[in-house]
Amino acid sequence: MEGLKEIQKLEGHTDRVWSLAWNPLSGLDGAPLKLASCSGDKTVRIWEHKPSNSWECQAVLDDPHTRTVRSCAWSPSGKLLATASFDGTTAIFQDVGDDYECVSTLEGHENEVKSVSWNASGSLLATCGRDKTVWIWEVLPGNEFECVAVLQGHTQDVKMVQWHPTMELLFSCSYDNTVKIWADDGEDDNWVCVQTLAQSNSGHSSTVWALSFNATGDKMVTCSDDLTLKIWGTDNGKMLSSDGFAPWSHLCTVAGYHDRTIFSVHWSRDNIIATGAADDAIRFFVENNECDTLVDGPSYNLLLKKEKAHDMDINSVQWSPGENRLLASAADDGTIKIWELTSVSC
């Protein structure tokens, strides 16, 4: 039997918590687990798992944002934290040992910035927002950032950006119900949209809130206000061998399990998909290995549903980087919870 055990509840934020990000070094080589959270209270909090086995708030970053901090992301090195805010800016914090220092502020978006993501090598940063654009920034020495592209194409508010885990491809999802894929066409920083996953190609029928890749990067899951999850796939082998872009195609729609907006989805390294939704529940899905995948395509089953995981809407669910099946969730009630998924037989 599988169960979701609540390890600890982290309190401190005074408004809803929108987003969470595990430091990528968490749990590796004895490094303590570290989590960043950002909130409507305009602050970012850093939480650390102590040797005493409890979680404590290490830092409260209350500069420089003047409005909601909507999203945060650690650089692959674990040393920088980027935060995106409704105040239109993206701040970059550096871990300086005991504290975090704001070393740069990226301006340019016309209004709320909603998401920020680092590429796999940490050389590029992407942001997106209500101004319908996606910006790509190059990371230069001395904590300098230079905008190298402003991508237009979405017809509405862009909710999230996420770099592919291995290839230099940027994915964005939007209030316009589509997911767009952007690539550098080989010329000097000429980023173009290479594919749009829209309703006409089995895409979502309402706002797409989030997306997440599996560990190998050949599959992706998207979640939406249309109450479904959609699984997409590509041919990785083809991507690596040829010099062209291998398109993504719809593999499966997971419907009938959520009855309110799904705000967050995250694909674990051992292939469990976690979702956080506006009905206060956390759900886990796994691929059905018993059906004939070659004929019918993959299908996904509900592994576990945790009702009332929080008292209000869940905005973010994130698996920790280690081997431990720890999940963090953040909600409108201002709390964060750390969970452990136990005794799962897959």
């Binding site: 809803r16 409507g40 409005r67 909601t68 909507r70 409704f86 209004n111 709320e112 909603k114 209500r130 508010d157 909710k159 209030y175 309402s206 706002t207 206000d225 309110r260 907006t261 506006a278 009905d279 206060d280 008292d311 209000m312 809407d313 409108d332 009630d333």
Partner: protein
């Protein structure tokens, strides 16, 4: 921004007689929520453009509110005074702010324009129910001020 009012000549109705309600609505959080209680909280919200309440302009009526206690959901449908009303999103914001002040936070609130009452019905409904858009709008000082005027002018 247009210079003139969106709807310069709204139809104004007399205020309906009110039933006195008991105080202390938060005393029993588990008690069923009465749609008429909710209506009492929102009926006097002032229209963003005219010195009349949403009730007087028939934007809201008792039938506007439906409650599903089992699921913990509240649905409010309102009728803008004209088909191309650009104040619909402001009215929606006012309703959300007012309800948040009055009701246990675990109730989910959905706000829609009544079917057929607005030219961009789907688009307005989508905006009104996008939690992130609502949160960002309420951080905009100008919009916040307008909402506050609609909520508090009736108390002056």
């Amino acid at each position: 921004m247009t210079l003139g009012l969106i709807n310069a000549n709204p139809v104004v109705h007399a205020k309906k007689e009110r039933v006195a309600r008991t105080e202390d609505l938060h005393s029993d959080v588990d008690a069923a929520v009465d749609p008429l209680e909710i209506y009492d909280f929102v009926r006097d919200i002032r229209d963003p453009e005219h010195p009349y309440s949403l009730e007087q302009l028939s934007v809201l009526s008792e039938e506007s509110i439906t409650v599903d206690d089992k699921l913990g959901r509240i649905l409010i449908t309102f009728t803008p005074t004209i088909q191309h009303c650009s104040m619909a999103t402001v009215i929606g914001l006012c309703l959300r702010v007012k309800l948040k002040q009055c009701f246990p936070p675990h109730y989910k609130v959905d706000i829609k324009v009544s079917p057929g009452s607005h030219a961009d019905e789907e688009s307005v409904n989508k905006q009104l129910n996008d939690k992130e858009r609502v949160a960002a709008a309420l951080e905009n000082p100008n919009l916040r001020q307008l909402v506050d005027e609609c909520l508090y002018s009736s108390e002056l």
